[in-house]
């Protein structure tokens, strides 16, 4: 083999949560095996989740990094920024990188994350717009927000909502355009979404749910949007936040099977030998469905990264992935919303809700027919999301405690935790 080609034992493509957890897991079992991290980013590792706070100014860009050079030196990791994956040749254990070099690996982890999904709106190529997935995106958006007078946010997921709040607070007039008939769908139910919507309206934002943009064109202000019902909007700042799609363009011809994401088994191994995948680019078993789903959230990325790292290092302590459980938290205008588990009521199951108009506390809990919790959602009602996730994963029958649990999930959840996994 060509001497100039770099060889490594563990090659990790990507540098965020899944990749960092995999490094930890590998080093727990194999203190010496060479690890190389290649990433498209030009910075030290950071989390996409922190970027809305970079935009708002809450996080100083220089202080968001999750590891420093010393970490990589201590852990004998070669960290190579600006060298994203270009092509994978799984049949000969090698990859081509964006900088033109190649690396031969013994084991490869694909933790390449996701990129903004750009909707195929006619004219979208003719206007300039922002997205928010990388630190560079965040710095650009932060500068633009300061200048903006009338902004439009396309998409009411958590990224769009965070940015909209920042824009409102910066004094811009903001319109949120969302295709589905509620905000934050997929994260929170209609009741919670209405509370979030009210908070935004109170702050002066315009909300247009159930609205589809059919045309985009340049205008004096910046961009002109035409909606399905004929309404037009002018924007000096347009943020496209309509979701993400996994980065897997490098898979072409590699033989690694993929659908919405890279398909992996319960040890995060792909269909190719010596290749694993984890995090936002992976499509792994869902806890509730049993089928393979996308669960592109931070906590699951760390779990998958750990499973993959242990599997790659051959750690005998490895346990199969339990399946992804949706977990989300959302802070808006000083309030908070937490969602854990599935929002679908299983057949024969039961949904319990309570709402206190005075305090604005809202709680919804969903139970399976066997009494196990399958989902719990709260607005302004704090409970321990991590304890709730364990109640779901451990399939603990809450029937004898249900009434008390719904009344006070914080205290009763902690009691069960203390008794069950002390």
């Amino acid at each position: 083999m060509d001497r100039a080609i770099e060889h490594t034992k563990y090659l990790i493509a990507g540098s965020s949560h899944a990749a960092l957890e995999a490094i930890n897991a590998i080093r727990m079992h194999d203190a010496e095996g060479p690890i190389t991290v290649v990433t498209r980013d030009s910075y030290l590792p950071y989390s996409p989740t922190v970027l809305p706070y970079v935009v708002s100014g809450k996080s100083a860009p220089a202080r968001i990094f999750l590891r420093d050079d010393d970490f990589f030196a201590r852990n004998k990791v070669s960290y190579r920024p600006e060298s994203g994956l270009k092509a994978l040749h799984a049949d000969r254990n090698s990859v081509e990188l964006a900088d033109g070099s190649s690396v031969v690996y013994e084991k490869l982890l694909l933790a390449t994350g996701a990129s903004p999904a750009i909707p195929p709106i006619p004219g979208i190529d003719t206007v300039s717009y922002h997205v928010l997935r990388t630190l560079d995106d965040a710095l650009k958006l932060r500068g633009a927000i300061a200048e903006s007078k009338q902004a439009v946010v396309l998409g009411a997921g958590l990224v769009g909502m965070h940015a909209a709040e920042n824009l409102v607070k910066a004094g811009a007039s903001v319109t949120i355009v969302e295709m589905s008939d509620q905000l934050t769908s997929g994260y929170f139910d209609k009741v919670a979404a209405d509370m979030i919507e009210q908070a935004f309206r109170d702050a002066g934002a315009k909300i247009m749910t159930g609205s589809r943009v059919v045309r985009l064109e340049p205008s004096a202000a910046g961009a002109k949007l035409t909606l399905e019902n004929g309404t037009t909007l002018e924007a000096d700042l347009l943020l496209v936040a309509t979701g993400v799609k996994p980065n897997m363009g490098y898979l072409n011809g590699s033989g690694v099977e993929h659908a919405q994401g890279i398909l992996v088994d319960d040890r995060m191994q792909t269909t190719a030998a010596n290749v694993w995948a984890a995090g936002d680019c992976a499509q792994a078993r869902g806890f509730f469905t049993g089928t393979k789903v996308m669960n592109a959230i931070l906590p699951d990325a760390t779990i998958q990264g750990r499973v993959a790292g242990m599997a790659m290092a051959g750690d005998p302590g490895l346990k199969d992935y339990a399946g992804g459980v949706p977990l989300n938290t959302y802070h808006f205008f000083g309030r908070h919303a937490i969602s854990v588990g599935s929002s679908t009521v299983p057949e024969g199951g039961e949904m319990v809700t309570r709402f206190d108009e005075k305090t604005g506390r809202y709680l919804k809990a969903i139970f399976a027919p066997d009494g196990c919790l399958t989902g719990i959602f709260g607005v302004n009602e704090f409970f321990d999301g991590g304890v709730m996730a364990q109640l779901i994963l451990r399939r603990i029958d809450l029937t004898p405690l249900r009434e008390r649990f719904v009344a006070n999930p914080l205290a009763v959840g902690r009691e069960i935790m203390s008794q069950t996994w002390r």
Binding site: H17, L20, E21, N24, S47, P48, T49, V50, Y53, K58, S59, R63, I64, F65, L66, L298, P299, T302, L327, T329, H331, G334, H336, I338, V340, F382, D384, G385, G386, V387, A389, Q390, R404, L410, A411, G413, R414, E415, M417, S418, Q419, W421, R422
Partner: protein, 446 residues
């Protein structure tokens, strides 16, 4: 080497739910009496016949999930103190850490709108001294392990001990503490059996070790020590013997060396029988215990005599130092080891360490420390020390002992006991306690 850390331990059996710990924490951390804002939370379980209390408190995990799910790098485990610290200037209030933690160790403080977690008050937790029941303890034994971990391990890396035996711990700690200028005597028993005398012509220790007869350990070691002294070398003479080798057949030479004030440290690892050779009874085996020579059947129900109290007999030799110790109380053990070593420079030092035997006592291999702790908490075993100058005093007095059944039921060798036998043992515990107490009183008056 990884480091060991101090920790806050909670014993739910002792908690009465008073909430004083929460008040102390709220005062220390928020300047209020609002226990909802305390970082330690006690929960009472309703509806149960016997009321129990549950705890939510940061575990300061070795592999903390809160840190791994924090997108802002605001949480970090301090490599020196082991505490997971929260950096307010980096936190973005996203609450993801509360989703990552399975123990409710980090939670929203509604008073500030930020998360809050236990930081052990910089190593001096306010909750612990506030607990009137002793249900919270700040365990600082880690300091010993961090210090000792830097010393040379003088015992072979591999050994042939039974799973869960605490003798390995005792050997490694003791040899590390006495250091390389040591001659070790180990008569037949578990200590040579698990590898200290070595295999195939090599020793199991990095210091000279010899294997005397059961009968002559103290005599041989005394001769060696005297020879070294004659040639002008300062060598630590150390014997590690079993209870059988010390209290039965080896007693004559032990007593003689103690009476002559030979300069040595004689450590007895008391597992209450000849466990190495098939679990025969010794004079240290307690009443009622099953051994292979005090079987349980139609005619016999375990040992019919009470144990001999060897350390008290050693006190009556007026040795330079006599103490009892337990591996469940390592700080106490270390303190005594230091004193015994110092005393052995001028006279005879005797250290009696209790060693629960997973194999012979019949309990699961993960419960050695728990059995050792229960022995002390029930006063079945008392921890004390003696010097001719200061007399005898308790180092871990147990004023409110648990019933001895808590100890007896922790292992299989007492499973057959009749209520009468249990009563006999409980009476003996009280009698022994009174006996030793009288000796401590005697020390005070005279």
């Amino acid at each position: 080497m990884g480091r060991a850390y101090s920790t806050i331990a909670f014993d739910p059996a002792k908690c009465d739910g008073c909430g004083d710990c929460m008040t102390a924490c709220a005062q220390a951390k928020t300047g209020t009496d609002d226990i909802a804002r305390s970082r330690i939370q006690i929960y009472g379980r309703d509806g149960a016949a016997d009321k129990t209390f549950e705890l939510a408190l940061c575990r300061q995990c070795a592999d903390p999930k809160c840190v791994t799910v924090c997108p802002a790098g605001a949480l970090d485990k301090d490599g020196t103190s082991g505490v997971i610290g929260w950096d307010a200037s980096k936190c973005v209030d996203c609450l993801l850490c509360t989703v990552g933690c399975a123990y409710a160790g980090i939670a929203l403080d509604e008073g500030t709108g930020h998360v809050a977690k236990c930081d052990t008050c910089d190593g001096n937790p306010a909750c612990v001294p506030a607990c009137p029941k002793g249900a919270l303890k700040h365990i600082t034994t880690a300091n010993i392990y961090n210090e000792v971990g830097d010393w040379e391990d003088l015992f072979a890396p591999g050994l042939a001990g039974c799973q869960g035996c605490n003798t390995e711990l005792l050997m490694r700690h003791t040899l590390r503490r006495v250091g390389p200028d040591t001659v070790l005597a180990t008569p037949p028993g578990c200590v040579p059996g698990m590898g200290s005398v070595g295999f195939n012509g090599t020793t199991g220790t990095k210091v000279p070790v010899f294997h005397p007869l059961l009968t002559n350990t103290a005599a041989m070691l005394a001769g060696i020590k005297r020879q070294y002294k004659r040639v002008g070398r300062d060598v630590q003479a150390l014997a590690i013997a079993g209870d059988g080798g010390a209290s039965d057949v080896g007693f004559q030479s032990l007593s003689g060396a103690a009476e002559r004030g030979e300069q040595m440290l004689f450590m007895v690892v008391d597992n209450e029988g000849y466990m190495n050779t098939g679990m025969q009874r010794s004079s240290c085996t307690p009443y009622g215990a099953w051994t292979s020579t005090t079987p349980v059947g139609e005619a016999t129900r375990g040992k019919t005599q009470d144990a001999k109290n060897l350390p008290l007999i050693m006190v009556n030799h007026r040795c330079a130092y006599v103490a009892t110790a337990s591996t469940a109380y390592m700080e106490d053990l270390y303190d005594k080891l230091d004193k015994a070593i110092a005393a052995s420079k001028t006279g005879f030092a005797y250290l009696h360490v209790y060693s629960p035997c997973t194999t012979g006592w019949r309990f699961p291999s993960n419960l050695n420390m728990e059995v050792a702790r229960k022995a002390v908490e029930t006063n079945f075993v008392m921890l004390w020390e003696y010097t001719p100058q200061a007399g005898l005093h308790f180092t871990k007095p147990v004023d409110d002992p648990l019933p001895v059944t808590d100890y007896l039921k922790a292992m299989g060798r007492f499973r057959h006991l009749s209520p009468e036998q249990v009563e006999h043992i409980q009476k003996k515990v009280v009698e022994n306690q009174k006996f030793v107490e009288r000796m401590t009183e005697h020390a005070h008056v005279g």
